[in-house]
């Protein structure tokens, strides 16, 4: 399986979003590593959503968080089913680990907030997170995926995540008035 060289500017954007720093080299990822990054990114968003359900009483925030859990879980199940079909396993890699480390910082920040301050930060982070991860998937991952079925799965997932992004951006705009 070929390894795709992903430009640091793109990866750094994704990593910086979740709080990690110090990415200073190009990342070579094959299809299975990109699949792992996608699953990790979904799991991170599910973790954010669970915090939102714990902390927020805002119905818009709660509905969005429930959709994030529902959709990202479905996408991850789709990835697992495809991996089973292909007889492969998504591979852990440095970018996945960096994403997880960065997400811990965001999770800590979210847990420290209450009320409208939490709702605003959650909405803002969701908009930024989807905007950046979608950019990575569209511009760095999909053009470099070798397996046609894996590429199709990423393209289908991106359709979902772009709708999430649009929804999150509307939520973030609404949140501006929650002061």
């Amino acid at each position: 399986m070929k390894r795709s060289r992903l430009h640091i500017a793109t990866i750094a954007g994704a990593v910086a979003l979740v709080g990690a720093t110090g990415v200073s080299a190009q990342a070579d990822l094959d299809d299975l590593e990109m699949a792992h990054v996608a699953v990790v990114a979904s799991n991170i968003d599910i973790a954010y959503a669970r915090i939102a359900l714990d902390k927020s009483s805002n119905p818009e925030i709660r509905a969005f968080a429930e959709t994030m859990i529902r959709d990202h879980s479905a996408v991850n199940e789709g990835v697992a089913a495809l991996a089973d079909k292909l007889g492969v396993t998504a591979k852990d890699n440095a970018l996945s680990r960096q994403l997880l480390a960065g997400a811990e910082e965001i999770e800590a920040e979210l847990r420290s907030l209450e009320g409208r301050a939490f709702d605003r930060r959650y909405a803002e982070n969701e908009a930024a997170y989807h905007r950046t991860v979608n950019g990575v998937v569209a511009d760095a991952f999909i053009p470099n995926i070798e397996n046609a079925e894996v590429k199709a799965a990423f393209e289908a997932a991106l359709e979902v995540f772009l709708v999430h992004q649009e929804h999150a951006e509307k939520l973030a705009a609404m949140a501006e008035s929650w002061r």
Partner: protein, 116 residues
């Protein structure tokens, strides 16, 4: 106007019945695909008594939920509940009007049925 949500196995049988009736002047069955987080077609003109079958082809669940824009209607608001991949729901209109609907999980997904 009357709407029904029927489990997919039963709805398949009923759909064939409706198609059969549609060969003459009776009610017809129309398909709306949920694909790529959109209803296709998003607007549908039908005859009173026709059936619309919505099928979810997406990886993620969706709903077909009637917009709450006609609070004075006598019938119950139509709501399919969660439709996982491959699941379907059916809507039967028995009076003219305009029925707008959306996905409760993804509110940017909207559509309209116009029974005449």
């Amino acid at each position: 106007m009357r709407s029904l949500a029927i489990p997919s196995a039963l709805s398949l049988v009923l759909a064939f019945g409706a198609v059969g009736a549609g060969r003459g002047t009776g009610p017809r069955t129309h398909a709306v695909e949920i694909r790529g987080l959109a209803f296709a077609p998003a607007a549908l003109d039908i005859a009173v008594g026709d059936t619309v079958v919505f099928t979810n082809h997406d990886l993620v669940p969706h709903t077909v939920t009637e917009s709450d824009e006609a609070p004075d209607r006598a019938r119950e608001r139509f709501d399919s509940g969660s439709l996982s991949r491959g699941a379907e729901t059916r809507f039967i209109a028995d009076e003219p009007g305009e029925v707008t609907f959306f996905c409760a999980y993804h509110p940017s997904m909207t559509g309209v049925i116009r029974p005449r």
